[in-house]
């Protein structure tokens, strides 16, 4: 992830627009990206400062490139790199020895034309002789443990030049989010993934229906209810790549600028062409679900249309997204969860969830192995390997 000092953004009419490398205006950046990846791929053994200078040189004649963008590329490249660590403190030990040797000669004068003090070059030559190395060698190693002088050990790289540019674009949105006070996501799909990753990032949610297909999901943190705070901006930034990997969303974050304290909006949506390095969420949790959805098809059966993970049940900070939502032409809806047999712990957790939402009517397709564990209910539809279509339809039509 980038740091705040790499952030580039424009402010326009109360909106913040993070720096974005587009194909039209920045098509030639692909060439730069290739060169940068090449510098690092061949750069093993070079120190960070040398690598960064080489990256700077790539942009020497590019009029359209702020310093921060170059620094940001350096950071993204460093993020995929492993640098030598000087674990034994060799440089520190060298310094200790050299400075102790020189202590009695202090101060080192450029010309020893006085009664006391020693000449700089003579003292350095003397020390070099004791080490049996040239002074330039010693001088080069003296601070080799400093961040910018560490040598590259390994470069993991990016999949492609495009991937580096894609990561840059996402990273600029992430770094803008550091100043976010709250974030709202309007989603029509992939609710489960969105909510799961928000929870992993330790965000709290507020869920509201939005239209008849979607939800408005507001994310912030515990203290947000007490005062506006940028405290959870970093968590929102961590969450962003997972959101970008999803479909059918639009995001609006409220940011407060550091210097002036203005409130600005950051808006991003799924169809802006941002690409996440995370894979898109799986369509189905299991083959049983997948088979059932395929068999049901896109057309309604008895007026019931099948929507995968189409409804969110929530109580305070507990969330349950059943596998399927059925929507009838006449407006009725029903939920269905398929309970396969995994482990006793899985069933226990599932049972606790179902109990929490017991006032909801949820059809349960239960695998035979799980039936002894789950209590009998009028909503249960037992199955062996395939969820029986007719039984589901019968239950749906009862309502």
């Amino acid at each position: 992830m980038l740091r705040r000092e790499h952030a580039i953004a424009e402010y326009q009419g109360g909106k913040v627009i993070p720096d974005r490398l587009g194909q039209k205006q920045h098509g030639h950046y692909l060439g730069y990206a290739r060169q940068m990846l090449d510098i690092y791929a061949r750069g093993v053994g070079q120190n960070r400062r040398q690598l960064h200078r080489a990256v700077w040189a790539v942009f020497e004649n590019e009029p359209d490139c702020p310093a921060r963008r170059i620094e940001a590329f350096c950071k993204l490249l460093d993020d995929q790199s492993e640098f030598e660590e000087d674990r034994g403190g060799k440089a520190a030990e060298l310094r200790r020895k050299v400075f102790r040797m020189a202590a009695s000669k202090h101060p080192l004068l450029s010309r020893a034309d006085r009664l006391f003090g020693s000449e700089e070059s003579a003292v350095k030559a003397e020390i070099a002789e004791k080490f049996g190395r040239s002074w330039d060698d010693i001088d080069a190693d003296l601070f080799s443990d400093v961040f910018e002088f560490r040598r590259l050990k390994r470069f993991e790289g990016y999949e492609s030049a495009q991937a580096l540019l894609a990561r840059y674009n996402v990273a600029q949105v992430q770094v803008a989010l550091f100043d976010a006070e709250s974030m709202t996501v309007w989603a029509t799909e992939d609710f489960k993934t969105i909510l799961r990753y928000a929870k992993l990032a330790r965000l709290m949610h507020t869920i509201q229906r939005y239209g008849d297909q979607g939800y408005a999901l507001r994310f912030d943190g515990p203290a947000s209810v007490l005062r506006t705070t940028r405290r959870y901006g970093a968590a929102m930034a961590r969450f962003l790549p997972a959101l970008i990997a999803c479909r059918g969303w639009r995001m609006h974050a409220v940011l407060r600028t550091r210097r002036r304290g203005w409130t600005v909006a950051l808006q991003v949506s799924a169809d802006e062409g941002l690409t996440s390095h995370l894979p898109a969420p799986d369509d189905f949790d299991s083959s049983v679900e997948e088979a059932f959805a395929a068999k049901w098809g896109d057309e309604p059966r008895d007026g019931w249309r099948l929507i995968r993970e189409g409804g969110i049940l929530h109580q305070r900070q507990k969330v349950f997204v059943p596998d399927f939502l059925f929507r009838h032409d006449d407006g009725r809806t029903a939920l269905m969860e398929i309970v396969g047999y995994w482990t006793p712990e899985y069933l226990e957790a599932k049972l606790a969830t179902l109990q929490l939402f017991q006032d909801q009517r949820i059809l349960l397709a239960v695998a035979r192995e799980a039936q002894q564990v789950l209590p009998e209910s009028p909503h249960t539809i037992p199955y062996k390997t395939v969820v029986p279509m007719q039984a589901v339809l019968d239950k749906l039509n009862e309502s």
Partner: protein, 470 residues
């Protein structure tokens, strides 16, 4: 039945840096706490408040005789394995007593008058789990050492890639404001060292997310350039004791003198400097024709759009670098080192690069933010016991790092805020017999550095001393 019983029980808990109140009906909460601090959190179905209000909430609940369970504190008493506290001087004793009346508030004492001893006396007296928050890693480790020396306790360390929480721990502001939401209920006393660092918009969370009923702030100066010092009262408590710097001077502090040495850039440097100045000035003047408010921020924003802006920016940085690394400074340093040969000498500079350049030129150790604990100790002790004749440091030594015997300090450039001047003077002002301390300030003539020097002398600490031009 169980459910009903649980609902009727009022519980106060610590959750992610906030207090959470459950099981109390809305009308009762509103009656007991009409003016806050509790806010209804519909997201989680409970009442929430900042952890900092723990003490007042408890007092209020006791006042109304509420039946409630307190699940907040995760602290108990602490025993000190080997207390070895020196007797306090009268003004130190007065400071401890003033703080103990309410066990919260700030003590303002000049650097070198034994703030640490005062704090350790308070910590020992309270004997409750304590977190000490220091501005930088060096100071954090120094607190660790002092707690070990004075109380015989091996404190936990939170920061510098270490996360070892113990009932008594030391940390930095940067770590504290991130992690307080995790352990804000494990410490009953929080000591904020150099507490003028606290009121920043992010750092204040170190106080806001802590439930500690006892708080102690230590500082040499309450001034902040943003005027946020007033925030310290709600965050820590009022100033309970203040010792002005003039009172300290000549008593427990050495007498001191400031010597200002203006230097000239070499002819080549001067030519280059003026050339670069012209580039910057010309560009800004051009832009101001259309945009009278054109300034630094606008220039930064434009560097991506026009090569000219980038050129101006580069010129600005090159200019700064010339004034900071003027060759003449090395010659002046040679002279000062010769003049004070045999006396430990501290050199402060404005950048890591300059610190390393001086270190490599004179082969004296340098302290940078990257230096690890072991090396820092070696360097600091080495200066103390005479192993090393001098030491060059960037900002890491700005505040409170113990260097008892140093009487000569050289400042090469640096920022001009009043606070930094006091802190840096404080390093030199250590009590050391009758020896006078000297602070040399080396600035480039005719450059921005000279202006900073004027600003620096405007501060209280400088106004009481004699100025001399070499």
């Amino acid at each position: 039945m169980w459910r009903a019983l649980r609902l009727s029980m009022t519980i106060l808990e610590f959750q992610h840096g906030t207090l959470v109140l459950t099981g109390m009906p809305r009308d009762r909460v509103e009656r007991i706490f009409p003016a806050g601090p509790f806010v209804w959190d519909a997201r989680a179905g409970l009442w929430r408040a900042d952890a900092i209000h723990y003490r007042t909430v408890v007092e209020r609940l006791r006042e109304v005789n509420a039946l409630w369970e307190d699940k907040v504190p995760r602290w108990s008493t602490v025993r000190w394995p080997k207390p070895n506290l020196p007797p306090l001087r009268p003004e130190q004793q007065a400071a401890v007593e003033a703080w103990c009346l309410d066990r919260r508030g700030c003590i303002v004492m000049p650097t070198g008058t034994g703030k640490t001893e005062v704090a350790l006396a308070a910590v020992a007296l309270v004997s409750l789990p304590t977190l000490v928050v220091a501005p930088v890693r060096d100071l954090m480790y120094q607190w660790h050492r002092r707690i070990l020396e004075r109380l015989g306790y091996d404190a936990g360390v939170i920061g510098d890639n270490v996360f070892r929480v113990r009932p008594v721990s030391v940390t930095t502001y940067d770590s504290a404001c991130i992690h307080m939401e995790k352990f804000g209920n494990r410490f009953a006393l929080v000591v904020f060292d150099e507490c003028h660092h606290l009121p920043g918009p992010v750092r204040r969370d170190a106080a806001v997310m802590s439930a500690a009923p006892c708080r102690l702030g230590l500082t040499a100066t309450m001034e902040r350039s943003d005027g946020r010092q007033d925030d310290l009262t709600p965050l820590i408590g009022p100033t309970v004791y203040e010792m002005p710097i003039s009172e300290a001077k000549g008593r427990s502090l050495a007498d001191y003198e400031v010597v200002r040495i203006p230097i000239q850039l070499s002819p080549q440097e001067q030519v280059r400097y003026e050339e670069l100045s012209r580039v910057v000035k010309y560009y800004v003047a051009q832009r101001r024709k259309t945009d009278p408010d054109y300034g630094w921020e606008e220039l930064c924003a434009e560097t991506g759009k026009t090569p000219e802006a980038r050129q101006a920016m580069r010129a600005y940085h090159a200019k700064k670098s010339i004034e900071e690394r003027a060759e003449e400074k090395f010659r002046v340093l040679e002279d000062l080192f010769s003049l004070h040969a045999g006396e430990p000498c501290l050199v402060f500079v404005g950048s890591n690069q300059m610190a390393r350049d001086i270190s490599r030129r004179f082969l004296i150790p340098c302290l940078l933010s990257h230096s690890d604990k072991k090396e820092r100790l070696d360097v600091l002790r080495g200066l103390e016991d005479g192993t090393y004749p001098a030491l060059v440091a960037n900002r890491v030594l700005d505040e409170g790092v113990d260097l008892p015997e140093v009487k000569v300090a050289v400042v090469l450039g640096g920022s001009g805020s009043a606070r930094q001047a006091k802190q840096r003077l404080g390093r030199v002002l250590r009590k050391s017999g009758n020896a006078r301390a000297v602070l040399y300030e080396v600035v480039s003539g005719g450059t921005k550095e000279e202006k900073r020097s004027v600003r620096r002398r405007d501060s209280d600490a400088y106004s009481k001393v004699r100025h001399r031009r070499l």
